[in-house]
Symmetry: C2
Subunit: 197 residues, 2 copies
């Protein structure tokens, strides 16, 4: 596997932040059917294997799922407060829900579900996100099986094609843009270009 230079930089930043939860929060932008940009915070759930793909999770009933079904293009913005680095990652999203047929991805969805904090797992059983607030009793749900993801749960994968790494510690700031090279069946390589901040 070819080394992924920007992944190394992200992992270094995560190490500096000692795994503090806010260092795993990033903002994921998509486009709605009416053309409006849409952006919300998501939690980084690790990379898929040794490659460039980032893992998140989502409730299949949330508004972003309809957006992704229609247009899978996304950009994530990951700002690290301690190291003052920003990563912008543009690529296509893929939803891995209960109908997934590919066995490794079915297994990946289950593993990520099992690794979620119990409070996050419970939220997947709450009433429909974005609908008018339901009665409090409807939020009293049982404890979901940690080994059996519910139908509302999806693994969300971001496969970056372009990455922009801005480092505000340097003076003047440093900024490098990475571009994925190679087709679907070729080994992935990354071209890099230093640009002005």
């Amino acid at each position: 596997m070819t080394e992924i230079p920007w992944r190394i930089a992200i992992e270094r930043a995560l190490t500096v932040h000692h795994g503090a939860p806010p260092s795993r929060w990033l903002q994921l932008a998509t486009v709605a059917a009416d053309g409006w940009p849409s952006v919300r915070t998501v939690v980084f759930r690790g990379f898929l294997g040794d490659g460039p793909i980032l893992r998140f999770t989502t409730d299949l009933r949330s508004a972003k799922v309809a957006q992704i079904d229609r247009d899978s293009r996304a950009e994530a913005c990951w700002m690290f407060t301690e190291t003052r680095e920003q990563f912008r990652l543009a690529g296509h999203l893929r939803l891995i829900g209960p109908d997934e047929a590919d066995p490794p991805l079915v297994a990946e969805r289950s593993e990520v579900w099992t690794a979620l904090p119990p409070a996050t797992r419970i939220s997947l059983l709450w009433p429909e996100p974005g609908a008018p607030r339901a009665d409090l009793r409807r939020f009293k749900v049982g404890t979901p099986d940690p080994h059996e993801p519910p139908p509302s749960f999806a693994l969300l994968l971001l496969d970056p094609e372009r990455v922009d790494h801005l480092d505000l510690r340097a003076e003047p700031h440093s900024r490098v843009q990475y571009q994925r090279l190679g087709g679907a069946d070729e080994p992935i390589e990354w071209a890099s270009l230093a640009v002005n901040p």
Copy 2:
């Protein structure tokens, strides 16, 4: 002036964060000409007067400016780490550059320029953002006049129409959506709706 409920909530969150710089960083999403979503970190520079409009700044040579000229729709995502609150603010952007004719906005642009940290002011004189990295000598620029914004400097205003406030401290989480009511010449009012998180 009618009270703006979500502005009060943002100001309360800022107070809890004691003005720590990262609490003033938010992510601004726009749409590029090719339809890709685009998102980057911007710094909150206060509200415009007593109203709902948020102030940011930008370099007029940056990629987002061409995007905004073509489609001014934007959504900002503001995540507060201490209070675990997320605000999503959707509305139109407006650039206030050197050709602005409206005297109060011309004055506003100058005031924001003067209030910027000196290091930020210097960055507006650096070589063109996003172009291949220029020679280091080209980053050695003089100290810009704190009272005379350069041609590259724009005040960037976001005028929210919809605001989504998610509060993760509550269990179950609370979430309220605000919608602006009234036309351009009417007093602004905000309808609110509690929804499921």
